[in-house]
Subunit: 706 residues, 2 copies
């Protein structure tokens, strides 16, 4: 239980601060813009100031993050920048921190506090205990501490001994949020899903999820005591809710179902030849700190512990498009009603944090081509800032033909390729991976792509059985049905700061002599959303949502300039609306939400999701403020989901399941904005013709074409 | 009206045949497989045999195409091949032809015939006049002949003179199917949509669609006489169905809205640097004639005048997956009720043909990387076979991460990239382009990607007006609302020849003490489709359709092995179900159709779509045969659409609108089939780090990382 960097005296705090200030002063480029994330040094300053107020105490920091300046301050600042003026003032740098302070010099009990720290004048502005009735976010440190105690406990060793495992089996553990099933606040506990390395290989990177154990330990986080070792249901459909149906030798029926290359029993494919992306004249993008300029796009890449990457201040050819884009939160509820699985519901951003979970990306593995990485700084549990060097990657990619037309009269074809800019992060949340990418194209559109991969969260099932609650993906392995529901936060600035949302559908007209004599006619039906509300996808009506600037009309069509969101139509939350599961995630019940912007309106599921029993301060509450959202500073939120009925092919690691949501210009421009992209040509692209005969005799079959 | 290659005597026919037979004999590789498309020589043989029956007559061929052997013959043949046996027999090569024979030595009147020709024994097996009540498909030759007569006619010249066009304006014309609005067969006519080159540039590749003219000539195809020059409605919403509202100078309010690079007033982007795909060790695919082998996939690329590319005999790692995949047809109905627009409805495959419309692709322009092209042979109007050398392209592409998992305990990441094989064709149908691609990935899935691009079909609108029937995308240019509805024909062979289709949904359970005490539970609901029928998408129920082999169960899940189709959820046909428009395209009214296979069941909209007033012999008729489709030789058809409400950004050429439909293995395999793909590594991928400082001083900013 070591906590280094503790502060033991005011003098020590001052010395530390001086050292950090010198660092800040020495590297002014560390902070050049109000929307830049906190640097590691700034994080260290904040935590030092906090620790100085509690000299000698033991701390565990959970996060230290930027509090973005108020929007009214930022709009003025950004307007100055866009106009080429030096912004009038520089907003103070403010940080928010969440941390626990241990009650005593030894022991585990703690209290949680939140603090606001002004880094410009080195003041802790306020420090408050965590509000009543909410839990702090999870931390990897707490999970690790708890697990270390668990594995040494008698309760755990006894429970494992009863499972009839082979000699020397190594048990692996995934700590999990305890979850909630009562509509009231409960004590702060932790669950543990238990697995084993397959005894045939005992590999440290073996697929433990292929060997699930039928026990679920529970611990109390305040005392770090083992409360119980609960049985995990492992029966089939015929067993209903019965427990302890598993065989005496609990894992003998499980096989090694591995993903690491060296354990592939049949070897690897030998016939895949390299495919490289080469950019011989370098990148078309220009990066200056966190500022990105590419093909008329200009934006900043922000970052924080919870959302991970944030896209700020997006303009296209000098016109405002979006103020801020991010993934706000997500929920992954499971559909198995057998205790304790009914509580299995993760909120991966609110419970832990995307920035915290983000992979440190590796050149040439995660991204192909010419790559730039953005770092992100986090608070270690001691409060010191640490940099994740490759938290976000950026690169170009070719996405096929952008546009083409051949004039059949002359047979002249003109076409361009669709070059995209990708800004990407990858999260690992225990078993699962999520790859998120913002993609910008040359035709003025922005896309958010989600790829789900990684490993299914599994639970045990007795040999030979099947279950109505999931799919058996390997002997003894049940992959329960669940959902992945995401929510995008879109802060628009379509040609200006005040926008409206218009719902538009394509509607058949009834047959009539006057308007539709032959029955083929259809029109659009548009409805301006006036008051904060939610709506759903309706693909059978071609329902789309246009974020428009009612004060600016397209000179040709006379429609207000806008950006169109075609909602993702996937199934949303299946849990009964009255259930705690649904009440925790009211944002997950509708596809589209329009609210009036208020500073701090960041979290679709509320600020405190871990152990929440009800979404508080999330989208439903924002909507119920019943505010005007017409021609206003608004927020648009898009919830989209995928119900996951696992396939056997999703194991041992799932092939990516890809979903894309697009924001496309709709009468924002006066023509295809990519019309001036240079035409695709062989001179530039250097494609090569495959030569069948050369290939047949085993030579690399390439010949260059003029 | 030149028709060369006419046959004037039996002796001439025999000589010609001998020459062709010698060609066939000399190049045995031209026909190596029963599913290979007809070669140019075979086409010439067929037409020569036909012409020999009508010595001295003038012909106009429309198509000569392969009649695929009966399925029962092919399944035996392919089973032999798959088992490594020499197939017992070689089915006869049979061709079908459609052609007109002119009634007299001069003049235009003609009769249309269909013939079946056995190329193995050089016999015309049957020759019949086109059935009563149907029209032949359109041909570019007829359109060109008609247009040549039109532009010289007094009626046309007089009508143009009345439009007040500037001096020396060049009128351009798009011949169009006449269309149908009565529930009865009508005479065979042709429409013409008229445009002009913008007088400011008069460029042969100028965007004529920016200068629409308010006249629509009509001609009779049997007599090639101009029947009328109809007015095109050009009013705004306030004008209702009025005609002749256009100004005296009909096009003065139109601007030049160009796509060719040399006419870009503001020049082209100068900051796009090359991005190349390099495959230094060559392709991973192997092509032998029309056979493709790549990453455990094995299939043949078929081709014909109507579907264009066809994917035949798909196996994965020696297991059957699909017998035949193709786009069956599509319909593009417009929603403007003002005569004659109410008749505007194209069936681009049935009316003309995808193979006929396919671009001859250009290396380095259409496809990036290491490319193989497949040719396709068509009958010229004289009947001679002509080869389109690059009708279909094939190449690999990198589609990002395929799967990834990081074990947080060891921080070891294992990931692979998702390499895809693409088989692609591009159609130009007058104004529009469609890019279709079958994509195969390493995780056993097949995707069909559609990209719509090219130019909107426009009509005139008076200056300053807007219309409820479309969007004004350029001054004087109305882009009418319309739909693009496609239909895929899927002939499955999932692990064998007899399959079923199971509809599966994810369904919440009601709260109950026994089964769902906490309200989180959900299950799947499966319904086997027993009798030929149709169904719709229902994304709110997570409805998917699994094509399964009920005789083969997955050893782990115990589910029948299958392939899952997640239906595209876009809006389907908006026309009133009782309208002629809807009756012509009953296939376009539902998303999913399951029918029992019969030879010749190729055309979702029926065999004869041009001038059809009712879908005849299409999906609705197939379904109404009420046949068993459970554990049967079935066909699965997927209709998917996009309602096109044109944006100003869709002009002058539309940025691609991309839609993908996927067929994914569902318990077909016992694990992720891509688990043995070698891990992604920098050594192979050779990605390069972007160096911010180097870029800032203008050097190509790349540095290699170890």
């Amino acid at each position: 239980m070591q906590h280094t960097s503790a502060i033991h005296s005011a003098a020590q705090a001052n010395d530390r601060l001086k050292t950090l200030q010198a660092q800040l002063g020495a590297t002014p480029s560390e902070y050049t813009h109000p929307l830049d994330p906190l640097s590691a040094t700034e994080i260290s300053v904040a935590s030092t100031l906090i620790k100085a107020r509690h000299v000698g105490k033991r701390f565990q920091f959970r996060y230290v993050t930027l509090v973005e300046p108020p929007k009214t301050v930022m709009t003025a600042y950004l307007d100055d920048e866009l106009a080429g003026r030096t912004p009038a003032g520089r907003p103070d740098r403010v940080a928010e921190a969440l941390y626990s302070i241990f009650d005593h010099e030894t022991g585990w009990s703690y209290k949680v506090y939140e603090a606001i720290v002004n880094l410009t004048n080195n003041q802790v502005v306020e420090e408050t205990p965590l509000p009543e009735g909410v839990a702090e976010a999870l931390s990897f440190k707490s999970m690790a501490d708890a697990q270390a105690i668990l594995v040494e406990s008698k309760e755990f060793k006894d429970a494992v001994a009863k499972l009839g495992l082979p000699e020397n089996v190594v048990v692996e553990i995934d700590p999990w949020m305890y979850g909630v099933d009562q509509p009231k606040f409960g004590p702060n506990r932790l669950s543990f899903l238990c697995y084993a390395r397959h005894p045939s290989n005992n590999h440290p990177d073996g697929n433990l999820y292929a060997v699930p154990l039928p026990i679920i330990p529970i611990m109390d986080l305040q005392t770090m005591k083992v409360l119980s070792i609960d049985p995990a249901a492992s029966g089939g459909t015929e067993d209903g809710f019965a427990y302890n149906t598993h065989p005496e030798k609990a894992i003998d029926h499980c096989i090694a179902n591995e993903y690491v290359p060296e354990l592939q029993a049949n070897g690897l494919r030998k016939d895949l030849k390299p495919l490289q992306v080469v950019q011989p004249e370098g990148a078309s993008f220009k990066i200056t700190g966190r500022l990105v300029e590419w093909q008329k796009w200009r934006f900043r890449v922000g970052w924080n512990y919870r959302e991970g990457m944030v896209i700020n201040d997006v303009t296209y050819n000098g016109r405002r498009v979006f103020h801020r884009l991010s993934l706000s939160d997500m929920t992954v509820p499971y559909g198995d009603p057998r205790t304790p699985y009914h509580r299995k519901q993760a909120f991966d951003l609110g419970d832990i944090g995307a920035g915290i979970s983000a992979n440190n990306l590796a050149l040439g593995c995660d991204c192909l081509g010419l790559i730039h990485y953005f770092p992100g700084a986090l608070a270690s549990y001691t409060g010191e800032g640490e940099v994740k060097g490759n938290a976000v990657c950026l690169h170009e990619q070719d996405m096929g033909i952008g546009w083409k037309h051949t004039n059949y009269r002359t047979n002249r074809a003109v076409l361009t390729r669709n070059r995209m800019l990708v800004v990407q992060q990858i999260l690992t949340v225990a078993n699962y991976e999520y790859i998120f990418a913002w993609q910008f194209d040359q035709a003025g559109a922005i896309h958010f792509e989600t790829r789900a991969t990684g490993i299914l969260s599994t639970c045990p099932i007795d040999p030979g059985k099947v279950s109505e609650w999931g799919n058996v993906v390997s002997p003894g392995v049940l992959a329960q049905y669940h959902q992945h529901i995401f929510c995008l936060r879109i802060d628009p600035a379509v040609d200006g700061w005040k926008n409206s949302v218009v719902q538009e559908e394509a509607v058949s007209l009834p047959i009539s002599k006057e308007r539709n004599p032959f029955g083929n006619a259809f029109v659009t039906q548009k409805t301006v959303i006036k008051s904060s509300s939610y709506a759903d996808a309706a693909p059978e009506k071609n329902r789309v949502f246009k974020i428009v600037n009612p004060a600016k009309l397209n000179p040709y069509s006379k429609n207000p300039v806008g950006y169109k969101l075609v909602p993702h139509t996937g199934q949303l939350l299946l849990a009964d609306p009255g259930s705690v599961s649904a009440q925790r995630a009211r944002f997950a019940q509708h596809h589209l939400w329009v609210t009036k912007h208020r500073d701090g309106d960041l979290w679709c599921g509320g600020k405190y999701t871990n152990q929440s029993f009800r979404e508080d301060g999330g989208l439903q509450d924002m909507v119920e403020r019943s505010e005007n959202v017409e021609n206003e500073d608004i927020l648009v939120w898009h919830t989209f989901g995928m119900t996951h009925i696992p396939r056997v092919e999703d194991f041992p690691v799932m092939p990516v399941e890809v979903h894309t949501v697009s924001l496309k210009p709709a009468d924002f421009f006066t023509q295809n904005p990519a019309i001036d992209v240079p035409a695709s040509s062989q001179l530039v692209n250097q494609s090569v013709l495959y030569d069948e005969r050369a290939a047949a005799v085993g030579k690399p079959a390439s010949k260059c074409c003029s």
